[in-house]
Symmetry: C2
Subunit: 283 residues, 2 copies
């Protein structure tokens, strides 16, 4: 596995590889890799001739007062993990390489970026969209691997890829959960034991939604009300939103006669947690 | 020369050509081709293995009340011209292909897009940046040819290419002028004889700036004042701006100790005309 820090060098290596018709698989990350990330990497290694992983904590997707400085960084461990899984190139750019002086171009998926988490993290998805556009141009992958944990992010990037005619297939891999049910997230390391225990209610609320749906409930207001009730029992948790939405437009769904995304976001202290589940209508 | 209307087909053809290491030259246009466009096309044909010209009147770069509907369209003539010059592929997408339902992604070069013409045409450069990003992904050219006539546009696109890591060289070709000095523009067809005659003052004002500069004047306020005086003599012309700016940042320059761009924009009736000249400091 080769470590690459220069966008230009990364791009040149890939350009050569593409001339040999190699299939390029790409997993963009902010590091602090957990089993969720690794499931993406493993899938990429399985399906691609060359697997590229990027680790870059993108400052432009953190809002003022968010956890940019505190964001967990375990680069040495990440490098070992990537090497052990058969990654070919690990792209590790720094801020100066990604945002040189005078940088001023941003990509925004309007509409979708304002909904759900976007309402609570203004500018976040613009930062994500911009860095993803850059990384797609640098790495020019054939397949881009994203995690379902960040459902809105995946939906936005799919839209971006389609709208801007990027020639890449987007694969969204399932959420990986800890044994206790908590969706894996680099930010989970922030949680105290008590907070972690309280946070388990997120997945419980999602399972409640699924169970109500499986038992025939199609009224999303009723499902959301029950979820809110359950989550509210855990006093330290402040709900940002609990929503049942269309998985392409992110518009609220009232009567669930289609495939839906149930998404939840809470704050516990300074930590923000998100989770989601799909409701699949067989009709 | 092959006419192509589907972005996907265009992209596939280019992908195949790139595997053979062909150099791809690309000239994006809104049609109504004049000798200015053709100078770009000729340069592309000279330097590239494959020359692609696109003709697409991009609705997203026209503001409300602007001339989208009236914009001159001479596609049959354009096709003949491109064929005669040795263009290999003419890309002619329609609105549905470029902006399918649900389209919502925009690229914005912040700062640069608000200055000069951007202040008078809100959203214009966002529309330009977005369509150029799309076209670059569809055509994946090695060289992109732009005209110096639209100086701000060229500056913005250079910034966009650098910021988003597009792997393309941007070449800006000199302004082509009619014998009377008027910079060629597709919109010149709108001008009456009288209006056209009045419009000649734009180039005269730019030549005045150049002459003052060549005679040692380095105070941009004085140069601009004299230009404004000259242009104001032609009553039908309303000045949007006359500015002397840095050709990378578009910031106003007070004392001209560097290469500068002198840019002018006026309205004459409903028609908007722009022109510019470079001042090159040998020091």
């Amino acid at each position: 596995m080769k470590l690459i820090r220069s966008p230009l060098e990364m791009n040149k290596i890939i350009s050569q590889a593409k001339r040999k018709n190699n299939i390029i698989g790409f997993v963009p990350t902010m590091g602090a890799l957990h089993a969720g990330h690794l499931s993406l990497v493993k899938q990429a290694v399985k399906e691609s001739d060359l697997t590229i992983v990027s680790i870059y904590v993108n400052p432009k997707q953190f809002g003022a007062g968010e956890d940019l400085k505190q964001y967990p960084r375990f680069v040495k461990k990440d490098i070992k993990l990537c090497r052990s899984l058969g990654v070919n190139f690990l792209f590790l750019p720094n801020d100066k390489a990604m945002y040189p002086q005078g940088y001023s171009t941003f990509v925004d998926v309007e509409g979708l970026s304002r909904k759900l988490c976007g309402a609570f993290r203004p500018g976040h998805f613009k930062g994500v969209s911009s860095i993803v556009a850059k990384l797609l141009n640098i790495v020019t992958p054939d397949i881009l691997y994203l995690g379902q944990k960040d459902a809105q992010q995946a939906i936005i990037i799919k839209r971006l890829v389609q709208d801007l005619n990027f020639r890449v297939k987007v694969k969204v891999m399932p959420i990986v959960r800890a044994k206790d049910g908590l969706a894996l997230s680099s930010r989970n390391v922030y949680l105290s034991k008590k907070e972690r225990n309280d946070s388990l209610v997120l997945y419980k609320a999602l399972l409640l939604a699924k169970s109500m749906f499986d038992n025939g409930q199609r009224n999303s207001t009723r499902i959301v009300a029950r979820m809110k009730q359950l989550v509210s029992n855990k006093k330290p948790l402040k709900i940002d939103y609990i929503s049942i939405v269309d998985p392409v437009s992110l518009e609220n769904v009232k009567k669930i006669n289609q495939d839906c995304l149930v998404a939840i976001a809470v704050k516990i202290g300074k930590i923000r947690l998100i989770d989601n589940i799909r409701l699949n209508n067989a009709n």
